[in-house]
Symmetry: C2
Subunit: 325 residues, 2 copies
Amino acid sequence: MIKLVIDMMGGDNGSKATVGGVKKFLNDIKDCEIVAVGNKEELKSLEGVDRVSIIESKDVVPMECSVMQAMRMKDSSVYKAVNAVLSEKADGIVSSGSTGAFLSLTSLIIKKIEGVSRPALITPFPTKIAGKYVVLLDVGASNENSAEELFQFAKMGEAYYKVVYNKFDPNIYLISNGSEEGKGSPLMKEAYALLKSEENFKGYIEGRYVFGGEADVVVMDGFTGNVFLKTSEGMAKLLSGMMKDAFTYSLSTKIGYLFAKKGFKKLKDTMDYKKVGGALLLGVNTVAVKAHGNSNPDSFYHSIMIAYKLVKNEVVQNIKESLAK
Amino acid sequence: MIKLVIDMMGGDNGSKATVGGVKKFLNDIKDCEIVAVGNKEELKSLEGVDRVSIIESKDVVPMECSVMQAMRMKDSSVYKAVNAVLSEKADGIVSSGSTGAFLSLTSLIIKKIEGVSRPALITPFPTKIAGKYVVLLDVGASNENSAEELFQFAKMGEAYYKVVYNKFDPNIYLISNGSEEGKGSPLMKEAYALLKSEENFKGYIEGRYVFGGEADVVVMDGFTGNVFLKTSEGMAKLLSGMMKDAFTYSLSTKIGYLFAKKGFKKLKDTMDYKKVGGALLLGVNTVAVKAHGNSNPDSFYHSIMIAYKLVKNEVVQNIKESLAK
């Protein structure tokens, strides 16, 4: 039986999103039990439910939260949830709360995989090939990385891609300012030299080709990755705003929307990052899934499902083996 | 009389784009003369035209071109054009050729402004406020920068924004992985400390807010800036592809397009970077405009016009004064 700890309180929608997600998940998956951490009052409907145990927490860390603050709030749902991974011998944890608090607590309390210098936050992005995703890491667990850390990110990303997408020779790239070997910042040049002899390493990739569908894993330092993640979000938001303006421009364009609506459903689905299930912290000794802050029951369900699948497919064990080589 | 040197050969469309652009420009602007550098045969229609002189060149550097190669091809249009800025005592230069060759030749042959440690490539981006642009620098002249260089970029960006957009207190931001002062890579933290007491400096900005319309100038190191530029391009391309797919999905969506078309014209115009006129190399002792590689006569005309306006508004002099303070 797999065991997952869930921070029921952290997200923007609090228990309203998580309770529904947990119930749907328990209904679909039968070989998994849930440790739900949160306000007893709000979790009432989960009391006595088969395969659910409840741990009470009284506080919720704010979305913008310093490491110090997160460490001090010992009665918060995320603090108790991370600790419960150890005390309950659970296989994974899911939270939609503050990314900063979740990352720092998970890294500090749960041990890193042996040999891992820094954990990395990994997240999937849609590509122009329908249904195909590219995963990027690190998108913000660190604010600076060494070349050796980038090398480890490549190995962790490779192991992750194999497990999640069943592709055994994923194309791994390093982000850069040009594709030729001579390009790159001093850091990227050093990482390139370390990765060069790796079988699945395909060289540098520029930002404009990341979404092209050719790359499976794109490695970057946490600072660049965070800028990458948020810039793509910003551009996507800018364009969707413009699209909305375009359709509401006149009566004619509004009629146009009625006719075109169905075509745009696919676009909306693809861009709907929520369904993708959020980001993952790789390199720690558990499956740590960070769901989107504004998760709803449906997307939170997807996040729990991802954690479940990663445990089932032994992603932590796979990373260990890959790094031991 | 203002004098501009034009590399007539470098772009994807060669003289087909540049000759038309130059003619239109000469027609609209009467206090500017043009030094056209290129293949005599292809520039025949410019021979004897008022306010045009021609310098012959035989080679064209390839789009992907190393600094060494660019320096060696002494009969290339871009090499001759950059040198003509000095020999002809011109006020500026425009090229749609290889960015690498243009940047390196301009930096190496034309002196930097006194006190400038590294030139920076600056480029405007559309924002969600119609007609309002945000300028970003450096988007790729360097592959690594110091905090002092980022400080200079802020000053150069400020001077540029004042001249081009007539806003005398532009909001200057530093790109980062979060907006609080404690965030940032070690480099950004150092740059933050240097910029902190500057009147127009507003702090850190995350990638997702760059297009929001609040920021006027966003400063970043050349590596991050290049990733930023190309990632936004990639995301914009991904989404336009999806939009196209959405409209061609079925007969109904195709009809929808006919009704909605007019609304989407504005979106297309805003995203049409070509009209914006390309990027600028700031920090050298001339106005150096890098037009898009795939410029057509119309967009090349816009690039010449930008160079003309920047000379007219004494952007180089403004940067000098701003850095001297």
